[in-house]
């Protein structure tokens, strides 16, 4: 009697066991902000994950995508879940700087390489025992801020007004802008902040205009970046407009309309892939991404944020074969080898630039990772 029951139980267990899909060889855990305030970053990132190869170097790859709702607590919980429950070999995420900062400890504690999709250089600097495990694909905001300061100096801008998000993105840009402008001898004459959801920025704009800056830099991401510029226009501001690479998607052009014509901003080359010279090694990679993304999500839908996720996967694609030679996926040795392999990557061509990782630079981008563009006739135009 007991024997039969046991047999039934065993059989049931076998059936259940068989029902679970055969686990993939390599697992990549992704936690991004597809809801909440950073949803405009996370959504194209999630769409890009869908484009990634499911096989690398003959090994099956599984991507487990979780949403952290732009919330640091959930980002950390997701990271733990992906590591503990899914035993992932690498982490991608999160979309924002605070969430990524909070994940560093988990990645380091569990010794899992993590590739952040957030901008701040604080994620990988100063390099220490913890940040050893952290890589990032977006350009450091310092690189972008330098580019803006450079352009301003050449355009004869002497005074600048700053208006940015009242969050980590604005904080990061304000710090970098202050540094970059000081280096070029440009004066920052007004600093204003606003929230993504504000319905009016009239007060801030009046304050900016009182300072009479030669140029205004708007540090915001996505469509909310259009509001200060439209209000400045309404109030008759006639100086130059600069935006950050955070606005690089079609929705910004749609909402901004005529009011954002002539705006100058630094961005990754992927935004203007088709305008790049044919000699540029980035062009084919970027064009391939744009083609595949728009095939899946409709024409004009591509956003540079999504490309950061795609770039993370390119890095992994390059590093995984190296790591596979040393250990089997799913083991601590493999994760460690993967980290070493990522750190050793050189001249990896991504959609956003060419990366040369070093033990002290886990971003690895150089000047090739940014171009200056302007907006002309409702489209992005590469500046020489």
């Amino acid at each position: 009697m007991l024997g039969r029951r046991l047999a039934t139980l065993l059989l049931a267990a076998t059936v259940l066991g068989a029902a679970v899909p055969a686990s993939a060889q390599i697992k990549i855990g992704v936690t991004i902000s597809t809801t909440g305030p950073a949803a405009s970053l996370g959504t194209p990132q999630r769409n890009s994950i869908a484009l990634l190869p499911t096989e690398i170097a003959g090994q099956k790859v599984e991507y487990i995508v979780l949403d952290d709702g732009s919330d640091t607590t959930r980002a950390v919980a997701n990271a733990r879940k992906l590591i503990d429950e899914n035993n992932v070999d690498a982490l991608i995420g999160s979309s924002t700087t605070p969430a990524s900062l909070a994940m560093i400890d988990v990645a380091a504690e569990k010794k899992v390489p993590m590739i952040s999709l957030a901008a701040s250089s604080r994620l990988i600097e100063p390099m220490d025992a913890q940040r050893k495990w952290v890589f990032k694909t977006p350009q450091n905001d310092s690189l972008m801020a330098d580019a803006i300061a450079d352009h301003m100096a050449k355009a004869g801008v002497k005074t600048v007004g700053f208006i940015g998000f009242n969050d980590a993105y604005g904080d990061g840009w304000l710090a970098e802008t202050q540094r970059a402008l000081a280096a070029k001898g440009i004066q920052l004459v007004a600093t204003e902040r606003y929230a993504r959801n504000d319905t009016s920025v009239t007060g801030q704009v009046l304050k900016l205009m009182q300072a009479r800056p030669d140029a205004v830099l708007i540090a915001a991401s996505g469509t909310p970046a259009a509001l200060p510029q439209k209000t400045l226009h309404e109030r008759g501001y006639t100086g130059k407009y600069y935006q950050t690479h955070g606005v690089a998607n079609a929705d910004f052009l749609r909402v901004g309309g005529r009011d954002v014509e002539g705006t100058v901003l630094p961005t990754g080359p992927v935004l203007v892939a088709d305008q790049l010279p044919d000699t540029n090694v980035i062009k084919p990679v970027a064009l391939e991404y744009v083609r595949r993304y728009e095939a899946a999500n409709g024409p004009g839908s591509v956003a540079t944020f999504g490309a950061h996720a795609y770039d993370a996967a390119i890095l992994l694609q390059a590093a995984i074969p190296v790591a596979l030679k040393k250990a089997k996926p799913g083991t601590p040795e493999f994760r460690s080898a993967l980290r070493d392999a990522l750190e050793g990557l050189s001249e990896t061509v991504l959609t956003h630039g060419v990366s040369n990782m070093t033990p002290t630079d886990h971003n690895g981008f150089d000047q090739r990772a940014r171009v200056m563009v302007t907006i002309k006739d409702g489209a992005w135009k590469l500046l020489p």
Partner: protein
């Protein structure tokens, strides 16, 4: 002292056994590490939700600022451990202090607000501090503070979810025990009376503003503890976990679990944490990986749960498992009687009121009333509805301020008297509309009457240093309950009694004050004939002991047979005064009562 039934020992030991088993969970083989992580998040949320049970469930105050107080605790430890290298253990008192002091300051301003104003006040603080946290360089602005050291024993750092599990759940257990201690005490009864019984509590000397502040601060200190736990588990803090949305989520946990009982906090926190996590796994399988349906499904589930159980889920769980609910009263140790106050000699003047007047706008409720009561007499105050009887009661007990006139009680001027002051002087009352705390046991309701005969504060209650005094108060309550003949109902929830019995409970509660003057508002309403006779006998006995009694009553037989004197009011004015026989024959009274029928 009558012997008392106590619950079977299993009921008392069950929680402790369950908790011990729960602590063993991490040692079981094959328990996934992530489950422990989830349990840790649930534990931290539980600590906050326990605070909300005290504040909202018992205290009736809705707070949207619990995550803010959590932030105070978290930032305090983050700052001390990173910038000043303080040990996390030493930072714990600082965290509790930070949230406690913040709550005291915020509470001192905000708790004057009542009802919805209070809820909005806390909401305003929550939004404000979110931006303050995010804009202070000291706090690392919006990026926050990272690199917070983990908790450690010597060189051993508690970084794994398993190690931290024990820390978190020990804190939960401590919070539960402390909170139970607090609720089961003199200040705890005052907190529990805030919702539904505040009007009565204040008439027995409860300092309402202080009690509200106590509940508010206690809940905030628990949130501060949660913040400390959070900071050392997460090892980084920034403003997002301490914003308005987080506060709303904690409130939601308490309500879903059932804010009326402590286990509801654990249930709500655990359930919301697990459901949030499971939706992430289940929904992509149902709808594909491209959508974000978690919030939608979570919101819909929330509404459905509330529709099936508006009081939260805990009452259901309790009845499924047939767990004893509400008060877990143990047998009451016999304690020496409390010191009684000396009563004035029979016939000595107790209360003299003259030219007493109260107007509401243009309406004169009490008009130049003169009233005197001597020690050891029962006086009936009668009159048609709207004659101003209850208003007179309110004037005598300080609930309402007279527009003009003077009142003296035992030679002291009652001008500017407040209800707690009246209670202090020895004026106790019952209410026309019964004011008992519904969920609290009959005994505890009665013990509320002895509030002024104890001194124990929250700290002594938390640490159980109040047991001797508490035994005295409860024994006194049991004695008074026995005296009014309701001893066998001591452990029942007050609202389960018949209305007439509830009125008698109010008398027992008033007696607990050890009154000089007893004001009873329709004590016999809803009583059966035999019960009325018992009540009359009790009141006569009290008179014999020297207590002075003024009662409002519509049952004429009862009044006529019991009272020494009658005072008749009509339209706020004194109509007649005299013995029962005199009043019966007074033509003005007959006219007023029987009107055109006569």
């Amino acid at each position: 002292m009558r012997p008392r039934l106590s619950h079977a020992p299993s009921a008392r030991w069950l929680p402790i056994l369950l908790f011990a088993l729960w602590l063993l969970v991490p040692l079981m083989p094959g328990v996934p590490s992530f489950w422990l992580t989830l349990a840790n998040y649930a534990g931290i949320a539980s600590v906050i939700a326990i605070g909300l049970v005290v504040l909202t469930g018992y205290g009736g105050m809705t707070s949207f600022a619990q995550a803010t107080f959590m932030g105070f605790g978290a930032y305090a430890t983050a700052l001390l451990t990173t910038a000043y290298g303080v040990s996390p253990w030493l930072a714990l008192p600082a965290s509790l202090l930070a949230s406690g002091v913040a709550a005291l300051l915020i509470g001192a301003i905000t708790l004057r607000l009542s009802g919805h104003y209070l809820a909005l006040g806390t909401l305003a603080w929550a939004v404000s501090f979110y931006y303050v946290f995010g804009n202070l360089d000291l706090f690392g602005r919006n990026d926050g503070i990272s690199g917070i050291p983990p908790l450690h024993f010597g060189a051993y750092a508690l970084t794994s979810s398993r190690d931290y599990f024990w820390v978190v759940w020990t804190c939960v257990a401590v919070a539960l025990v402390l909170t139970r201690n607090l609720l089961d005490s003199r200040p705890g009864r005052a907190i529990r009376a805030l919702r539904g019984g505040a009007g009565a509590a204040v008439s027995f000397g409860v300092d309402l503003p202080r009690t509200r502040l106590l509940a508010f601060t206690y809940a905030a200190v628990l949130a501060g503890l949660a913040g400390w736990l959070y900071a050392h588990m997460q090892r980084s803090v920034n403003p997002t976990p301490f914003g308005l949305n987080a506060s709303i989520e904690y409130l939601l946990m308490a309500v879903v679990g059932g804010a009326g009982a402590l286990p509801g906090a654990l249930l709500g926190a655990g359930l919301v944490t697990v459901v949030n996590d499971q939706l992430q796994d289940i929904l992509p399988r149902l709808f594909g990986p491209r959508g974000n349906y978690e919030t939608i499904v979570f919101g819909a589930l929330l509404v459905l749960v509330l529709q099936t159980s508006p009081e939260g889920l805990w009452p259901h769980v309790r009845s499924w498992f047939r767990l004893p609910g509400g008060s877990n009263r143990r047998s009451i140790p016999d304690a020496p009687a409390l010191p009684a106050r000396p009563l004035p000699a029979p016939g000595a003047p107790v209360l003299q009121a003259s030219h007493l007047r109260k107007t509401f706008g243009g309406l004169v409720a009490v008009n130049d009333l003169a009233l005197h009561l001597d020690a050891g007499e029962i006086v009936g105050l009668i009159g048609p509805n709207g004659a101003g009887k209850s208003t007179t009661f309110n004037l005598l007990t300080g609930v309402a301020r007279p527009t003009a006139g003077s009142m003296r009680f035992l030679g002291r001027d009652l001008a500017g008297c407040t209800p707690p002051r009246a209670a202090c002087l020895g004026i106790a009352r019952s209410f026309q509309h019964v004011k008992l705390v519904p969920g609290m046991s009959v005994l505890e309701n009665v013990a509320l009457g002895a509030h002024l005969r104890g001194l124990a504060g929250a700290l002594r209650a938390l640490l159980r240093l109040d047991r001797a005094e508490e035994a005295g108060l409860l024994a006194e309550a049991a004695r008074q309950l026995d005296r009014v003949g309701l001893a066998e109902h001591a452990d029942r929830p007050a609202d389960s009694l018949a209305l007439g019995q509830q009125r008698v409970v109010e008398i027992a509660r008033a007696l607990c004050l050890d009154p000089v003057l007893l004001l009873l508002d329709e004590p016999a309403a809803g009583l059966r004939h035999a019960e009325k006779a018992e009540l009359a006998a009790l009141l006569r006995r009290l008179r014999g002991e020297g207590v002075t009694i003024l009662l409002v009553e519509h049952d004429m037989d009862f009044v006529m047979n019991l009272t020494d004197r009658l005072v008749v009011m009509e339209f706020g004015t004194l109509l007649a005064e005299g013995t029962a026989a005199e009043i019966r024959g007074n033509p003005a009274v007959i006219e007023a009562y029987l009107g055109s029928v006569a």
